[in-house]
């Protein structure tokens, strides 16, 4: 009984921490820069995602959230998979911008092999060309809301 209460409480605490401290890693898999600069803009004074605990990390090992911008090019595909593999569990993926969602305007280009979600599982999609910083923040909040709604036991795995 006591252990169950303890486990439950621990799960809740861990989940709370996870929701409040998503560290992000940015990977450009073949984007035009538009999404990248808007993502960077969310860190700057007007939008400041540090309010939500979001920090841009340099190392995949220390990130919880992988933000992928751009349609995936042939050359970037392996890198994307490798970076995803390097991230410790639990990990989440955000596909940012029309190209990452559906290849966008580059749908018929010969060196573009697909949107992000055919290679790695995507947790949240943010459409736009490019999405406004507000939209990116809304995407992050949606992801965190999803995490919060998940049962505590699941968050622990």
């Amino acid at each position: 009984m006591l252990t169950r209460v303890w486990e439950h409480t621990l799960g809740e605490v861990v989940q709370w921490a996870r929701v409040n401290s998503p560290w992000a890693l940015h990977f450009n898999s073949g984007s035009c820069n538009g999404c990248d600069i808007e993502l960077l803009a969310t860190l700057t004074p007007r939008y400041d995602v540090e309010r939500l605990g979001v920090k841009l990390q340099g190392s995949p090992r220390q990130a919880d959230l992988l933000v992928v911008t751009g349609a995936v090019t042939r050359q970037a595909k392996d890198r994307l998979l490798r970076i995803y593999a390097q991230m410790p569990e639990p990990r989440f993926v955000m596909a940012l911008g029309s190209c990452a969602l559906s290849k966008g305007i580059f749908h018929d280009c010969y060196n573009v092999v697909g949107p992000v979600d055919v290679f790695i599982p995507v947790d949240v999609y943010v459409p736009g060309c490019p999405p406004r910083p507000e939209a990116i923040i809304a995407g992050m909040v949606a992801l965190l809301g999803k995490l919060q709604a998940a049962p505590a036991a699941e968050a622990q795995t």
Binding site: V13, V14, W16, A17, R18, N20, S21, W23, T44, P45, D48, E50, R51, G53, Q57, G58, S59, R61, Q62, D64, Q86, P88, E89, P90, Q156
Partner: protein, 304 residues
Amino acid sequence: MTEVLALLIFPGGIALLLAALLYEWINRKLAARLQNRVGPRWFQPLADLVKLLAKEEIIPQGAQPVLFDLLPIVSLAAVTTAALYTPLFGLAPAGSFPGDLIVAVYLLSVLSLCTSLAGLITDDRYALVGGLRVLTQLFSYEAPFLLALLLPALVAGSWQISVIAAYTSEHTWLLLTQPVGFVVAVIGLMGKLELPPFDAPEAHTEIVAGSLTEYSGRGLALFRLSRNVVLIVGLTLIAALYLGGVANPLLFFAKTLLLLVGVTIAQMLFARLRIDQTVGLWWRFGVLLALGQWLLTLLGKAVA
């Protein structure tokens, strides 16, 4: 019983760790405000810590698994031990013996050594460069930092922190009589904590996360926590030695906060120094300044 409580809960142990998180928050929040941002919420460091503790820990190929796990623990243990000898929150230190100042200062360096080793035992090239940079930096700031902290000992005529603190609270603030020593000590602390402009060992844009590049979960959490403990211990030491002792806990707390504010502002003002510039700065100016202050103090003692 009370001694165990003092070690585990207050003022050591849990209270120390919580205070460490509080100081990190103040540092980050103030930095954000100075950059025109809103900054993190008050519980941010705690959330970061708990999240990291619960995260998967990947031991990379090529790393020494035992050392990889052990280093963060050793560094946290060392710096919390150092905290025992310092008058945390203005209260009497839990342990005290003649010469504890030197022991405390060297225990603080264990963090740098462990961080460096953590980089050197992995195969990661960023971590290797980071580890080397930590060591290089350690050798550059350590001597002047030590000299600056030993100055008050010279003045007070004792190597025991509590004795020096008692001396400084009865005399004029050493900040006024030994300003150079104070400045060197504060800047040395910034070097120890790898705060900008001395953050070359973990420069994101060059070597990702420096020697900690391969650490993901628990190890990273413990290293971050150790660094915060060093911050609090360092501030406490400087406040006790240079800012008029530990007479009143509340006033003392205010003094360390003031120091923290000063450190944060300094860290916002500067661009990162290259590692060779850091070394040059310390050996060309830091050491000379500290030695100069030593000579002056010795002369003053001889005359008086």
